[in-house]
Subunit: 459 residues, 2 copies
């Protein structure tokens, strides 16, 4: 068996480049995959980020520390061309917040302001609430119907494997205050986009509406439903402070494994370094940063220096937007050299399906990648990638091809944007499987000439 | 079939009282049980208490409202002799609290002061922490070893069906600060007595030690372990305010279903009306109040007015002690007329085993009770009752017999003393099963002459 690799290599030389890549690509992808399953790099990265930095909203001192942590981490792991790309963005910051029912049943409520909320006047506001158990019921109100009221939407979010319920119900956080304000409301409260039953609210960004807006824990949303269901007016006192920096300094942190043959052909992958403030940004998105950093390192190590460049980006302002657009603007002229872009921003769960651009389906690199998947129990989608991610959306707008690797998000929205987004929620085995899929993919994409762009139609 | 009850009754008259009770006791116990399984009284009671009152620590205005709620609820449900028994007790009240790591990795910590804690000086204290991953490791420290330090104990609590791990690990909350202070510590932090992984700390009572003491969420306990594990000094800033009223007004709220034949023979059951402040006191102990109120009502209704009196007590200061002792002191002269005492203070889970005083095992009432259990999937312990409960401990000291009905506490310590102790955590079917066991028991105890006291030894 000793000479077999040489025989294969010789055969490959004779058969030409496309076929030549197949055996070594398959073997390399399998090696990267298998190494990933026992490697602790991803765990170590997210453990370090959550322990040593913790929550890191854009515009905060912690995000500055996270930037330095990102540079140090990439350098320590052997990445090259490690640098920081500056931009500025709008940054909303939470101040003290409280809410309580004052009548008829005095009780404190657990809330978190929604990013973009206006503060209340000093001393807060007290107003009767109107509870809508569906978002549509709010939309059904005529203009003026909520004058002087606090609008409350309590629609529940269902648990889904792919997280799709976030897209369905998410509008009640993202745009509910705008709709409430249009109808005269003085403040807006929405049931958290949460699939858990803890009394921890889940924050996130919303469209500024000129009124205070906050997320209720699922428990408190149910409490207000029950109180309102008794038929007596329910009055809530709300005090919220916040500030906005319209031009906060921010950074995308970048590291590369430079390609040996085609260093200007770049595979761009990453996660976002910023997080919301209540948790430690473990599943959102310390995990994504860790997965891509580890996968790139493992793919780079599996066969010496890769043919193309693998670039890891730790985007610096995903939660409040800005980093994806800044990245695309800074790399516009390079866009046609970006082979593929990928983003990991769905937690630390197992990848259960992959979608890659169909144009490359027959290429030996993709054959090799798909061959690496069965032991990882990941299936291959028959449909093209659709989502990409918010930090690569700018690149997608420049027609850069992208992949969707779908993670199990069953528990993600138990944790997302809440104080429960912490390291202990990450399963190391699930994290390793996720890294393994990415490592196999990065290996074949960086060690081949695969082209994901649609081919021109025949003349 | 129409005449069968009369035939049975005639036979019973001939056979004498002990045998006479058996058929009707069995039928009555079964009827009370079956009614309980579809009755919503218990759910309605705990829904009302948690929605309309919410958290109700002893000494708080909410506890005054809870007292009035208790009186109104018992009257509404048809109880007689509804009244309030006053006493005074020591009441600790929480003020603003915060904790954060200041070096080497600045992060906020989720804490809740332990009841009995001293406040910090204004401006708080900042000190290095010493982390002990077991309580024994703290005890192993010599006097003076912790001078100027914040002692942190992070021992984890295991999940058990009977809640017994609370007894094992509980000392780290109850007495840890005393042991830390003895060794020179300036403050004490303990991992919450929690079986869940949310970032919500669990409070509870501790022995005052003259230093601030607080519970860390399980997540934050792990965070401090990881920080300390890096080998650099970790420094924490702690600010805690609190106040103590050594003679707070408090109340046990009482209602009865008066017996028709032996009204001065009393069965005393209840739960505690007070709660800790972070949640709404749903499983601890709104559920217990609801279970006993509903079970007494159902037992009383199952065969018209019972032979003996069933008394429900909503004890008014269990969490910070006082109500059990006050009750025993006020009812000392009546103790020999109290047939049996029972307390429900373990949440809303199913009863999986019952223990009744062995002296009555052969009595037809107990035969009938045990015959009612198989459909409820509750087993009968071979050992005598041991625990009773803290609110009946005073009666137990007066040699009043007591029962232990063991509830499934598997999830109880996910919720107990935390913000997560809310109505949505109660499963109505489990609650109904619990009521059914108690209703069957109350029926047979109140409609027979069963005597639970040990019989004098033969001369």
């Amino acid at each position: 068996m000793r000479h077999l690799p040489i025989v294969v290599f010789a055969a490959a030389l004779i058969a030409g480049p496309a076929i030549a890549q197949t055996p070594s690509l398959a073997a390399g992808a399998a090696a990267a995959r298998d190494k990933a399953l026992s490697d602790t790099t991803a765990w170590d990265v997210v453990e370090s980020l959550t322990t040593e930095i913790g929550p890191r909203p854009v515009g905060s001192p912690a995000m500055q520390r996270a930037r330095d942590w990102g540079v140090a981490t990439l350098k320590r792991l052997g990445f090259e061309n490690v640098h920081v790309e500056n931009f500025t963005t709008n940054a909303w910051s939470r101040g003290p917040e409280s809410a309580e029912v004052v009548a008829p049943f005095a009780q404190k409520l657990a809330i978190l302001g929604i990013g973009g909320s206006s503060p209340t006047p000093a001393g807060g506001i007290t107003a009767p609430i109107v509870v809508f158990t569906s978002y549509q019921a709010l939309l059904d109100q005529p203009v003026g119907a909520l004058t002087g009221k606090i609008a409350v939407v309590t629609q529940a979010m269902g648990r889904t494997q792919d997280g799709s319920s976030y897209g369905v119900v998410g509008v009640q956080r993202r745009n509910g205050a705008v709709e409430a304000a249009k109808r005269g409301a003085v403040a807006y409260l929405a049931r958290s986009l949460s699939t858990d039953d803890t009394r921890l609210p889940h924050t996130g960004a919303g469209t500024p509406a000129g009124i205070p807006m906050a997320a209720l824990s699922t428990v408190d949303a149910q409490l207000l439903e029950r109180m309102a269901g008794r038929g007596k007016p329910v009055s809530v006192h709300l005090e919220m402070a916040s500030s906005v920096n319209p031009a906060a300094e921010a950074w995308n942190v970048v590291g590369e494994i430079r390609g040996r043959a085609k260093p200007d052909e770049v595979i761009v992958v990453g996660g976002h370094l910023d997080s919301w403030d209540p948790g430690t940004g473990a599943v959102d998105d310390g995990a994504g940063v860790a997965i891509q950093t580890a996968a790139a390192k493992l793919a780079g190590e599996a066969a010496g220096r890769p043919r193309r460049t693998i670039r890891v980006v730790m985007w610096g302002s995903e939660e409040q937007n800005g980093s994806g657009a800044a990245y695309a603007a800074a790399h516009k002229t390079e866009a046609d050299k970006i082979i593929i872009a990928g983003e990991s921003d769905g937690g630390s769960g197992r990848i259960w399906s992959v979608a890659t651009p169909p144009a490359a389906n027959g290429h030996p690199a993709m054959v090799a990648f798909r061959a690496a998947l069965p032991p990882l129990k990941a299936t291959v989608n028959s449909t093209p990638p659709r989502s990409g991610g918010s930090d690569i959306a700018g690149l997608m707008g420049l027609k850069v091809p992208f992949v969707d690797f779908n993670q199990d998000m069953s528990r993600y929205f138990d944790l997302h944007h809440s104080a429960d987004d912490t390291l202990d929620k990450i399963d190391p085995a699930e994290l390793a499987q996720n890294v393994a899929v990415w490592a196999a993919f990065l290996y074949v994409a960086a060690n081949s000439d695969v082209d994901f762009r649609p081919k021109p139609a025949a003349p």
